[in-house]
C-alpha cells in the first residue's frame, strides 16, 4: 500500500508546484513528530527484543518472535506515516481546521493535575477525598469555577461510589484519613 496511496485525492499528480516542500513541512510539524515517534517506539521495542533470551528447543520459536514482528511492523508503519507527513500530510487529516480550532492547553493542564494528584493522594488520603479533589480540578478544566458547589457534588458522588464499590462489591478502596 506504499505507492498507491501517495497521491492525495484532489491534488493532481504532475503539479509539484502546488506542494512546496518547505511550507508543507512547516505546517505538519506535529504530524512529523508523531510519525517519528512511531518509528522511535518501534526501534526501542526492537532494541528491547534483542535483549530477550534466545529461543530454546527445537522449534526455534520463543519469546522473541512476536516482538520482532511487532517492532518491525511499527518501524515500517512509522516510516510510511513519515512519508505522508512530509509529502502532503496524513491522508484525510484536516490541519487547516485543526489550526482554526486551537487546543486549550490550560484545560489539559488542569485535568492532568487532577489525575496526577489523584494518583498521589489515593492511598494516603483515601478514595473519597482524593476523588472529590479530582472532581473539582476536572470541573475547573472545563472552565467552571463554582468551587464550593463542585466540591459538594464531587463529595456526594465519591461517597456513593465508595459505599457501593467498597461495601457492595468488596473492591477494597483505600479509606485514607477518614474513619470509615
Amino acid at each position: 500500500m506504499a505507492e498507491g496511496d501517495v497521491a492525495q485525492p484532489g491534488t493532481q499528480p504532475g503539479t509539484p508546484a502546488d506542494v512546496p516542500g518547505a511550507a508543507s513541512a512547516k505546517r505538519h510539524v506535529g504530524q512529523i513528530l508523531v510519525a517519528a515517534g512511531v518509528v522511535v517506539f518501534g526501534a526501542a521495542l526492537a532494541y528491547g527484543t534483542a535483549l530477550l533470551p534466545e529461543a530454546t528447543g527445537y522449534a526455534k520459536v520463543g519469546p522473541r518472535l512476536m516482538p520482532t514482528i511487532v517492532s518491525g511492523g511499527l518501524i515500517a508503519l512509522g516510516l510510511v506515516l513519515l512519508k505522508e507527513a512530509l509529502f502532503g500530510g496524513f491522508r484525510g487529516v484536516d490541519e487547516v481546521e485543526a489550526a482554526a480550532n486551537p487546543t486549550d492547553w490550560r484545560a489539559i493542564a488542569w485535568i492532568s493535575a487532577a489525575i496526577i494528584a489523584n494518583g498521589i493522594l489515593m492511598v494516603p488520603v483515601g478514595f473519597v477525598l482524593s476523588g472529590t479533589l479530582l472532581f473539582v480540578l476536572a470541573a475547573r478544566g472545563f472552565g467552571n469555577t463554582a468551587w464550593v458547589k463542585n466540591a459538594m457534588i464531587g463529595l456526594v458522588i465519591a461517597v456513593i461510589t465508595y459505599a457501593f464499590f467498597n461495601y457492595g462489591l468488596g473492591l477494597g478502596l483505600p479509606r485514607g484519613i477518614l474513619p470509615v
Binding site: Y58, E84, D104, A114, G172
Partner: protein, 494 residues
C-alpha cells in the same frame, strides 16, 4: 432441531428472575452510557470487570452483552438530538436524524431508529442462533495454524482495507500488539518489556487501556476544544409514535439495513461506519423522495440505524463462535470471559453450552426490554443530555480512577491511566482510531500463542500455514483483502 432444544434450554435459564434482572441492569446501563457523550459501552464494561469476582458468569455476561447492544439504542438518541456523533458508526444518524429534529420530526426519528434497532436486533439474534452452530462445526476442525490464519485475517479486516485512515488504523493495531507484549510471556516465563516493575510484570490491565484511551483521552480532548464545541439539545415537539406514512417508508430500510449490517459486524472490513454509509447510499438510491435526503429523510435514519444495530450482533456472532473480537467492546467482552477462565470460540459451545445459550436467549429478551426503554421512556434519557459538561466529565473521571485502581489496588495504574489518556488524546488529535489498539492488545497474545503452537508442531517450518488447506485459504483471502482494493485503485488511475 438441535438448535431449538439448546435455545429453549437457554430461555428457561435466561428467564430466571436473577438473569432477567441482570439483563435489565445491562440494557438500562447500556442505554444510559449510549446516550451520555464521553462514556461508551467499552469503558462501561471495562469499569465493571471487577464485578466478575462477585457474580456468576452467566449473570455478568448477560449484563455486559446488554450494555453492548443497549448502547447502540442509546447512541442514536444523542445523535438525533445533539448532532454530535458519539462514535463513527452514528455519523449518518447525526446528519440525517438531526435534520429531521430541526424540522420538528425528532419523535419520528427517535422512533424509527428505536423500532429499526429492535427489528435489526431481533432478526440478527435469530441469524446468530442458526449461523453460529454452523460456524462452530467448521471451527471445531481448526488447529493452531487455522486459528492463527483466522486471526491474521481479523487483524487485517479490523484495521486496514478501506478508507483514508487505513494506515493509521494499522498503526493503532500495532501499538495495541506492542502493549499486549508487556509482562511475563506465558509459554517461556520470560519477562518482556517490564523493566522490573512488578505492576508491569503482570501485564498492563485491559481496564487501564480501555478507560485511558476512551474516557481519559476523550475528556482531555473535549476539554481542550471546549470553547469551540457548541451543543444545543433539540426539543422533541412531535409525537414519539410514528404515522402510517412513516411506517410505510421505514420498514424496507430496516430490513435492508439489517441485511447489510450483520455480515459487516461479523467481518468488519474497514470499520463499523462502513455498513451505515452503505445503507445510507442504498436508501438514497431507492427512495421515492431523493430531494429529502440531507434535509431529514426518514429512510436515511431507519436504514443506517438498523445496520448499526445489526452489526453489533454480527460482532457477537464472531466473538462467540470463533473467539475473535472485531470491535473494541467485543475485545473487552472477551476479557470478561477470560476473567472466568473461559475462552470464547467453538469449544465454548461444547463445554459451556448452557452459558452460551442463556446468553443468546438473553439477547432476545434484552431487545424487547430496550424497545420499551427507548420508546415510551425516551423522555427520561433525553434529560441525561442536560447534565452540564463539567459535571459529566468530572464524574466520568471519578469512575475511571475508581475502576482502574480497584482492579488491583495499585496507584501505579492511575499514573499509567494518565499516560494512556495522553496517548488517546494525541491519537484523537491526529485522527488515529483507538479501537484497534484494544483489539490488538487482547487478540495479540492469543495470536502469538497460536503462532508458536503452530511452529512447534511444524518444528519451525513456516510452510505449515500454506500446507494446511484451510489456513492457506484464509491467508489467501487476507492477501486478497489487502491487495484487492489497492489493485482496483491502480486500475482506476490508469
Amino acid at each position: 432441531m438441535e438448535v431449538l432444544t439448546f435455545l429453549a434450554n437457554g430461555f428457561s435459564l435466561a428467564l430466571s428472575l436473577q438473569n432477567l434482572l441482570w439483563c435489565l441492569v445491562g440494557v438500562t446501563l447500556g442505554t444510559a452510557v449510549g446516550v451520555l457523550p464521553g462514556i461508551g459501552p467499552a469503558v462501561t464494561v471495562a469499569l465493571l470487570l471487577p464485578v466478575t469476582t462477585k457474580i456468576d458468569p452467566s449473570g455478568a455476561l448477560i449484563m455486559f452483552a446488554g450494555i453492548y447492544y443497549g448502547a447502540m439504542y442509546g447512541g442514536s438518541t444523542t445523535s438525533i438530538l445533539l448532532n454530535t456523533p458519539g462514535e463513527s458508526a452514528t455519523i449518518i444518524t447525526a446528519m440525517e436524524g438531526n435534520q429531521m429534529a430541526k424540522r420538528g420530526r425528532a419523535g419520528a426519528a427517535l422512533s424509527t431508529s428505536a423500532i429499526g434497532s429492535f427489528v435489526a436486533g431481533t432478526l440478527t439474534v435469530v441469524a446468530l442462533t442458526f449461523v453460529s452452530p454452523i460456524v462452530v462445526d467448521v471451527a471445531l476442525r481448526f488447529g493452531p495454524p487455522e486459528f492463527f490464519a483466522l486471526m491474521v485475517l481479523a487483524f487485517i479486516t479490523v484495521s486496514a482495507v478501506l478508507g483514508e485512515s487505513a494506515l493509521r488504523r494499522l498503526t493503532a493495531l500495532f501499538i495495541g500488539l506492542a502493549i499486549g507484549l508487556v509482562g511475563i510471556d506465558n509459554q517461556s516465563g520470560t519477562a518482556r518489556f517490564a523493566f522490573e516493575i512488578p505492576q508491569l510484570l503482570d501485564g498492563i490491565e485491559v481496564v487501564t487501556v480501555a478507560v485511558g484511551l476512551f474516557a481519559v483521552g476523550e475528556t482531555l480532548w473535549v476539554a481542550s476544544k471546549e470553547r469551540a464545541i457548541v451543543d444545543a439539545v433539540m426539543k422533541m415537539t412531535d409525537s414519539i409514535w410514528m404515522k402510517a406514512e412513516d411506517w410505510k417508508r421505514s420498514w424496507k430500510p430496516w430490513l435492508r439495513g439489517t441485511a447489510i449490517g450483520f455480515p459487516f459486524g461479523a467481518i468488519p472490513a474497514g470499520g463499523a461506519e462502513i455498513p451505515t454509509f452503505l445503507s445510507y447510499a442504498i436508501e438514497k438510491k431507492l427512495t421515492k423522495y431523493p430531494e429529502e435526503f440531507g434535509k431529514g429523510a426518514i429512510e436515511g435514519v431507519a436504514g443506517p440505524e438498523a445496520a448499526n444495530n445489526a452489526s453489533s450482533t454480527g460482532t457477537m456472532t464472531t466473538l462467540l463462535a470463533l473467539g475473535l473480537p472485531t470491535s473494541a467492546t467485543a475485545a473487552i467482552l472477551l476479557a470478561a470471559f477470560q476473567q472466568y477462565g473461559l475462552q470464547p470460540g467453538p469449544l465454548l459451545f461444547v463445554n459451556s453450552a448452557d452459558l452460551v445459550w442463556t446468553l443468546i436467549a438473553s439477547m432476545y429478551i434484552g431487545n424487547v426490554m430496550l424497545l420499551v426503554l427507548n420508546l415510551p421512556l425516551v423522555g427520561l434519557w433525553v434529560k441525561l443530555l442536560e447534565i452540564p459538561k463539567h459535571l459529566l466529565y468530572a464524574g466520568i473521571l471519578i469512575f475511571a480512577t475508581l475502576g482502574v485502581y480497584g482492579m488491583r489496588q495499585s496507584a501505579f495504574d492511575i499514573f499509567l491511566l494518565y499516560a494512556i489518556g495522553l496517548l488517546g488524546f494525541m491519537m484523537r488529535r491526529y485522527d488515529f482510531p483507538t479501537g484497534p489498539v484494544l483489539i490488538g492488545m487482547i487478540l495479540g497474545p492469543l495470536a502469538e500463542a497460536q503462532l508458536r503452537r503452530s511452529l512447534s508442531i511444524s518444528q519451525g517450518d513456516w510452510m505449515i500455514f500454506l500446507q494446511k488447506p484451510l489456513s492457506a485459504t484464509l491467508l489467501a483471502i487476507t492477501v486478497l483483502v489487502v491487495v484487492g482494493p489497492w489493485l482496483m485503485k491502480k486500475r482506476k488511475k490508469n
